[in-house]
């Protein structure tokens, strides 16, 4: 099994790091936002639930027209604190798997990064065609508002992108 690792720093270096990886069938991405733990820890220590909303877009670059969207995936990671047991229940919306951690650092690691997240099937991509993967992250405290306008003025905490093409 051949594994191709592409690593690129996002244009906004302080936003985070983005890596993509191919195997024979799937495109994976690994992203981590470069946010100080202070952005999470005081809030989470006070028992406020937090969530990160990861939006991953893959598009084909076109010179004279808008880029063609290939995939648009949204992944949400929740960390719900339990003050009585001093633990955090971590849940990922894509798999609906939850686990409980008793260290704040584990919860922050869970919220602030994606590790080997499968993005799309490789068969959807063509060789020697330019593509761009864009990852943007929004941090929500006290849960995610379901209102349609909630995301209109919510700025992205981090945004990363990387151009690639299949060899």
């Amino acid at each position: 099994m051949s594994v191709i690792m592409l690593s690129a720093q996002a244009p906004a270096a302080e936003s985070g790091a983005l890596q993509i990886r191919f195997d024979q069938k799937v495109l994976y991405c690994a992203a981590r936002i470069a946010i100080n733990n202070k952005a999470f820890s005081p809030t989470m220590k006070d028992g406020v639930a937090m969530a990160t909303e990861w939006r991953i877009k893959v598009s084909r670059l076109r010179r004279y027209w808008l880029n063609e969207d290939i995939a648009d995936i949204t992944v949400t990671r929740h960390a719900r604190p339990d003050l009585l047991t001093r633990s955090w229940l971590l849940t990922e919306s894509s798999s609906d798997i939850s686990r409980r951690v008793y260290r704040l650092q584990d919860a922050i690691q869970f919220l602030s990064g994606l590790d080997d997240f499968p993005v799309l099937d490789r068969s959807l991509l063509k060789k020697n065609m330019p593509y761009r993967i864009t990852v943007s992250v929004q941090i929500h405290s006290e849960g995610i508002s379901e209102a349609w306008w909630a995301g209109l003025w919510q700025p992205a905490a981090a945004a990363m992108q990387q151009d690639f093409s299949l060899p």
Partner: protein, 715 residues
């Protein structure tokens, strides 16, 4: 005034910059809505301010008042609104300070620690108790398969009863359930698989506890690895104990309150900002609504003023048909009604003035027309007219009076008639003086005026006093007529009448006298002794009677001159007739020169009589001298035919020449003095004239007759 909108926009932009949401702040959409509203309002104010600055012309009527009203109303609203907002913000800040007081914070911390202490105590108790079973030989035998199932269950039941655990389960290292005991309820048919915590416990060989929620209940779960020998793990003991519901409920309530409190504290700035932006939003909405209402109200209020100003401008430009609305039943409506009344009266006055102007113009035109007619009439009038005002100054005189009286140059308008009436015109002044001093309105006089050429003019002067009621002018009108010809005609007529009657009275006895004389001559000539004397006497009677008859005939002719019977007569024919009559005289020469087609419209008998009279006179004047000649010839002009009779006789005495054509004036002994008078009368009856061109050397008479018939004067 013009800078107020820009200043307001500047202030609003400053406030916008002050309240601009920070990047890390989570203030929501409301803040951006507020920013949008303030920016939009600023742009509107800037646009309005720039338009005010650029528009240097006079603004539309009422616009300034409208702008002032809107600004004042917004300012009146802004001051209390801003005050209320500042006070409310202060109150919110104070309220939050009280809310998030440190005592509350401490209280909640302690409450949470109490709740956490309960959980810790449960877990610690469970851990401490589980430690007693890690090296339990019975359990180790059970997981090693050295005990039967019933003995194991009994042992686990003892443990459950001893420790107070509701469930006790025993697993081997392959996570296979060996035995399970559950207190108080039936056990599940299928054992729950081990979770990661259990695996960690078994893997690390450590006692681990955790809390789980099942069906709204919370249980404490403990995992104790069963260790055999030194370090080998033989199995896993999982126990559960249900936490007391009342305690759990209170603990969770404390946790929820703590979380909410911390959440609010975490959002403290956001709450404050949200409150500020809500207040700002409400203020902006109220300001916008107030501005809109103020604009509508101001427009409604200033519209009548604008209409009134527009109407005044149109009236100033001359449009008096403007009418403004009178709908509002207030002071403005009253003002509009007053304006409409004023406009209506103004229009009526202007129409009256225009009508008066038209009347005056028409009257002036009529006056001018009358003056023109009068001047034309006076100019074409053959009667002399002099208009004199009350002070004796000549106001008007026509050309006819100048021609009749041969007035000198000093006779002109504004000349005093008494001063200019001197010399031969003294009678004119005397006539005016008499007219002005008499009581009667009219005066008529006839008098003679000697003209510079020696002629005497007989004029008829009529005067009238002009003092018509209502007329501003008062004066005298003098009308001068030349009645010389009329007087002469009347004199001639009188003389003709005298002649006719005299001839009639004389002629009646003459014929018997003549007949008696002739009878005496025939019957008594033989009886008289001296026939010679008798013949002389009777002949003298008969000759004198004949002479008297001729004289009477001439008188009759003059008195009863027949109207000429005009017809086309060739000039040549008349000349030939004269030639035949006078060809016996050698000294008479008649030039028959005109062509046959040259004709003259006249009565041939009367013209022939005139020519014969002239030729007779010429022959008589040249009778004593055979060397003298008499010449008759005609000259043809375009409009007249002239007969010229010349003789080389002794001529006419200068003093006799002026009286030559007067009746009964003759230089001959036997002349009646009527020949030339009759000849001139005939010439005048033909529209021509008989004149003496030369009194001597030669004596030259000219008879001039028009070639065409003279227009008959309608009398």
């Amino acid at each position: 005034m013009r800078f107020i909108p820009l200043l307001m926009a500047l202030g609003l932009l400053g406030l916008t910059a002050l309240l601009w949401p920070k990047a890390q702040g989570d203030v929501g959409m409301l803040a951006w809505v507020n920013m949008g509203l303030m920016l939009g309002l600023s742009l509107l104010l800037i646009q309005y301010g720039i338009r005010l600055l650029r528009n240097r012309a006079e603004p539309r009527p009422g616009s300034r008042l409208r702008a002032k009203l809107v600004i004042v109303m917004i300012a009146l609203l802004l001051v209390p609104a801003m005050t209320i907002q500042m006070a409310a913000s202060q109150m919110v800040d104070r309220g939050m300070d009280v809310w998030f007081d440190v005592r509350v914070d401490t209280l909640l911390d302690r409450a949470l620690k109490l709740a956490q202490g309960f959980y810790e105590r449960v877990e610690q108790n469970m851990k401490r108790n589980l430690l007693d079973y890690i090296s339990d030989a019975t359990l180790a035998a059970a997981v090693s398969g050295h005990m039967d199932y019933r003995s194991i269950n009994a042992y686990l039941g003892d443990i459950s009863r001893t420790e107070g655990w509701q469930r006790v389960e025993l697993f081997d290292t392959n996570e296979r359930l060996i035995s399970s005991v559950q207190m108080g309820e039936l056990g599940a048919l299928q054992a729950r698989p081990l979770n990661n915590t259990a695996r960690v416990s078994m893997h690390l060989g450590r006692v681990v506890t955790e809390l789980e929620s099942h069906d709204g209940r919370e249980v404490a779960v403990g995992y104790a690895p069963l260790i055999g020998g030194a370090t080998s793990v033989l199995g896993l003991l999982r126990v559960e104990t249900q936490l007391p519901a009342g305690v759990i409920q209170n603990a969770r309530a404390v946790e929820a309150d703590y979380r909410n409190y911390r959440q609010l504290e975490h959002n403290r700035q956001k709450i404050s900002a949200t409150f500020t932006h809500v207040m700002l939003f409400m203020t902006l909405v109220v300001v916008l609504l107030t501005g809109l209402v103020a604009l509508l109200f101001a427009r409604r209020l200033t519209a009548p003023i604008g209409d009134l100003a527009n109407a005044l401008r149109r009236v100033t430009e001359g449009d008096l048909d403007v009418v403004i609305s009178e709908s509002p039943r207030d002071e403005l409506g009253s003002l509009g009604r007053s304006f409409n009344k004023m406009s209506l009266r103004l229009k009526q006055n202007v129409e009256a003035i225009e009508q008066a102007q038209r009347d005056l113009t028409r009257a002036l035109d009529n006056t001018r027309q009358r003056q023109y007619v009068l001047e034309s009439l006076l100019a074409n009038l053959h009667t002399g007219v002099v208009l004199v005002d009350g002070q004796g100054r000549v106001r008007l005189l026509n050309q006819a009076v100048r021609d009749i009286l041969h007035l000198p140059e000093d006779w002109k308008p504004s000349a005093n008639i008494l001063q200019v009436s001197h010399g031969n015109l003294r009678d004119i002044g005397a006539f005016y003086d008499e007219l002005s001093h008499q009581q009667e309105e009219l005066l008529q006089r006839e008098f003679d005026i000697a003209l510079p050429e020696g002629k005497t003019l007989h004029v008829l002067a009529r005067g009238a006093r002009l003092s018509a009621s209502g007329a501003e002018f008062s004066g005298y009108l003098l009308v001068i007529d030349d009645i010389s010809e009329l007087a002469e005609a009347e004199r001639n007529k009188a003389w003709a009448e005298v002649a006719r009657r005299l001839a009639h009275e004389i002629k009646n006895p003459l014929t018997p006298i003549k007949l008696s004389a002739e009878r005496l001559q025939r019957r008594f000539r033989s009886q008289v002794d001296n026939t010679e004397v008798f013949d002389v006497c009777t002949k003298a009677i008969i000759d004198q009677v004949d002479r008297l008859l001729r004289l009477i005939t001439d008188f009759s002719t003059l008195a009863r001159m027949p109207q000429p019977k005009l017809r086309e007569v060739p000039v040549k024919t008349l000349l030939q007739d004269m030639h035949e009559l006078f060809h016996s005289y050698a000294r008479v020469s008649v030039a028959i020169t005109p062509d046959d087609d040259v004709a003259c419209r006249c009565d041939p008998d009367q013209i022939r009589q005139v020519l014969i009279n002239l030729m007779d006179n010429a022959v008589a004047a040249t009778g004593k001298n055979e060397t003298c000649a008499v010449r008759l010839y005609a000259s043809i002009a375009e409009t007249a035919v002239e007969w010229h009779v010349e003789d080389d006789g002794e001529g006419i005495q200068p003093d006799a020449a002026p009286k030559l054509f007067e009746a009964y004036y003759s230089t001959k002994v036997n002349g009646s003095g009527l020949g030339l008078a009759i000849a001139r009368r005939i010439a005048e009856d033909h529209g021509g004239e008989l004149t003496l061109l030369s009194a001597a050397n030669p004596t030259h008479f000219c008879l001039k007759l028009p070639r065409s018939a003279p227009a008959k004067e309608k009398t």
